[in-house]
């Protein structure tokens, strides 16, 4: 029974991590209209820079300064922000669908680099021995609860931040030029600058939350940051309701619980491969059905922003 509970704790924790990723994606894609298919790459940069700068157990790398954790988080965040800047500037010169593909391309390049630059990243072996925050204080299985709480506190903080951003004039302008860039420019808005700022902000945030993912999975390998992370985040956002506030969180919760439920009977030996595959089948079916019957997702944008004029009058 306790194995089941710990399993559920894990699922809810992972749901929280994806909720955060989906909220960040909602900012850049849902509100600013930048269809980022490369977020896994930005998370990878943050995760790797974090682990490289903070770990002290593995000696066979070129660079292992052993910084304190908070410094590693900042380093990872900055690195992802810079990566976003490098990716964003050329990508924004190409329009619409091309942005999708160039971001995907960059993510794949980052993943290949993480495999091949073994002297820095330890290649496909990666890092698997490192300490996590407060491990001395909270021990054993209680740590999973601690991690769960930490993740969901951050979910709340990010949610509050997104509400502030969404309801601001900045957020309003994003949703404006997302749908009609020429009109925005004809009013004097420098829309490309706003896009780059948003993309870099998203990068900084992906990098800052990457350590959560690292602490949850407890290893850092290139296979952690495949396109699957990107697609699951997108699915969560799309199901939950793109461009709303609650959508990303709802979508992540539903998606993770539904797909991980298939892994419940994990101990059944030869069924394991089938069940791992069932996860993908369920993921695919959910996405297809939501697109078919409720393409705007569960939480709608128009409900999220209804009666905006009253907020100023208050």
């Amino acid at each position: 029974m306790s194995g089941m509970i710990l399993f559920l704790v894990g699922v809810v924790t992972l749901a929280g991590i994806y909720a955060i990723l989906a909220m960040i994606l909602n900012l850049e894609a849902g509100w600013a209209g930048m269809w980022d298919l490369g977020l896994a790459g930005l998370v990878a940069v943050g995760g790797y820079v974090f682990i490289i700068t903070t770990q002290t157990t593995h000696e066979d790398v070129v660079f292992a300064p052993g910084w304190p954790m908070w410094a590693g988080v900042i380093a990872g965040s900055l690195a992802s922000g810079i990566a976003a800047l490098i990716i964003g500037i050329p990508s924004l010169r190409v329009r619409g669908e091309y942005f999708l593909i160039t971001t995907l391309a960059f993510a794949e390049v980052i993943r290949q680099l993480s495999i091949n630059l073994g002297t820095i990243t330890r290649g496909t072996v990666g890092f698997n021995q490192f300490s996590r925050p407060f491990e001395g204080v909270v021990s054993g299985s209680a740590y999973r609860w601690f991690l769960l709480a930490m993740v969901w506190v951050i979910v709340l903080l990010v949610y509050l931040l997104m509400r502030r951003l969404g309801h601001s004039p900045y957020g309003r302008l994003l949703r404006g030029f997302r749908d009609n860039d020429p009109v925005a420019r004809s009013l004097g808005k420098h829309t490309n600058r706003q896009r780059i700022q948003t993309f870099v902000l998203a990068g900084l945030m992906y990098g800052a939350v990457a350590p959560l993912y690292v602490w949850f999975i407890r290893t850092v390998t290139p296979s952690l940051f495949t396109a699957e992370v990107t697609f699951v985040t997108w699915t969560a956002l799309v199901i939950g309701g793109i461009a709303s506030f609650r959508g990303p969180v709802i979508g992540a919760a539903i998606l993770l619980i539904v797909t991980e439920a298939a892994a419940l009977a994990q101990g059944l030996g030869e069924m394991a491969v089938v069940l791992a595959s069932v996860r993908f089948i369920v993921l695919g079916l959910v996405l297809i059905l939501v697109m078919r019957f409720r393409p705007e997702g569960l939480a709608k944008e128009r409900d999220a922003f209804a009666r905006a004029s009253r907020r100023v009058e208050a």
């Binding site: 091949n116 695919g284 393409p295």
Partner: protein, 286 residues
């Protein structure tokens, strides 16, 4: 020199896969991520027909092609048609969902292991300065033949002309009385069959495994965008170019960087010419 041959082979396969992908983008208006899974399906079906049913390789390839073509049409009717009214992004996400669904199904049916085509095409020949396998020659020849047939089909037949008209201007085509539904089914069949054929080819020179779809769709996307989503010839050229780039680069850098090279070429290409190398008039972005 040897690498040029490899490049041509890779490029031919990529070109075949991407032409189908590009046709869907042109006539149906969205990016179909599930195209990679149709390729994988073709590879597994080809393997199945050769290894289990013990068909002759050519027949197996043909059977796989036709079967994948039909499956493509079925998927178009059941999965994509109902979502068409919600726009290209909804269709894109539907295709991602379908890709996962097919991926899961393929793993369940065919297993997650890696297999090889049990054929005798590994015998090597020496042609002057290069050393090729019969399989490799076969692939390039078949690819060329198929492309030739496709070109003839598109230019000389009525259905082909209708397809080209719909690809360049769907609204006008409809107004002119072209049976857009029939054209749509034809395009799905041809595009999917081509994906299936590419899968069989991949199986012939490499191995067959369930992850094929994901790695292939990335390079297909690169070739499609580089070729300029609107032009069939552009896409063919881009496919060959990327194939050559990927294999020639193996001379200087580790082969694990192949996809990186493909994307590097893509990014470079887009920076120089944001609309793709051979962009035809095609659809105009609003």
């Amino acid at each position: 020199m040897q690498n040029i041959i490899f490049g041509l082979v890779t490029g031919s396969i990529l070109a075949i896969a991407t032409v189908g992908f590009s046709m869907i983008r042109q006539t149906e208006g969205f990016i179909n991520i599930a195209h990679g899974q149709l390729l994988t399906l073709g590879a597994f079906l080809g393997y199945f027909f050769v290894a289990t049913v013990e068909m002759n390789v050519f027949l197996a390839g043909l059977a796989a092609m036709v079967l994948v073509g039909l499956i493509g049409v079925l998927l178009a009717i059941v999965v994509f048609r109902p979502v068409a009214k919600s726009g290209p992004l909804a269709q894109l996400f539907t295709s991602i969902g379908l890709a996962y669904l097919l991926f899961g199904l393929i793993r369940v049916i065919f297993g997650a292991n890696v297999t090889f085509f049990p054929t005798g095409f590994g015998s090597r020949l020496d042609l002057g300065p290069v050393n090729v396998t019969v399989g490799e020659i076969l692939i390039v020849v078949v690819a060329a033949v198929v492309v030739g047939l496709l070109a003839l089909f598109l230019t000389q037949t009525r259905l082909g002309t209708w397809i080209r008209a719909t690809a360049s201007n769907p609204e006008l085509a409809r107004l002119r009385g072209i049976p857009v539904n029939r054209v749509s089914y034809a395009v799905w069949f041809v595009a999917s069959a081509l994906a299936g054929l590419a899968g069989v080819m991949v199986g012939l020179i490499g191995n067959v495994h369930s992850e094929l779809g994901w790695t292939q769709i990335l390079i297909i996307l690169a070739a499609a965008v580089l070729g300029g989503l609107g032009s069939i010839y552009g896409v063919l050229a881009a496919g060959l170019l990327l194939g050559l780039a990927m294999d020639l680069s193996a001379l200087i850098i580790p082969t694990s960087y192949r996809t990186v090279v493909a994307f590097g070429v893509l990014i470079l290409g887009l920076l120089l010419r944001p609309q793709g190398l051979f962009a035809a008039k095609g659809r105009r972005e609003a």
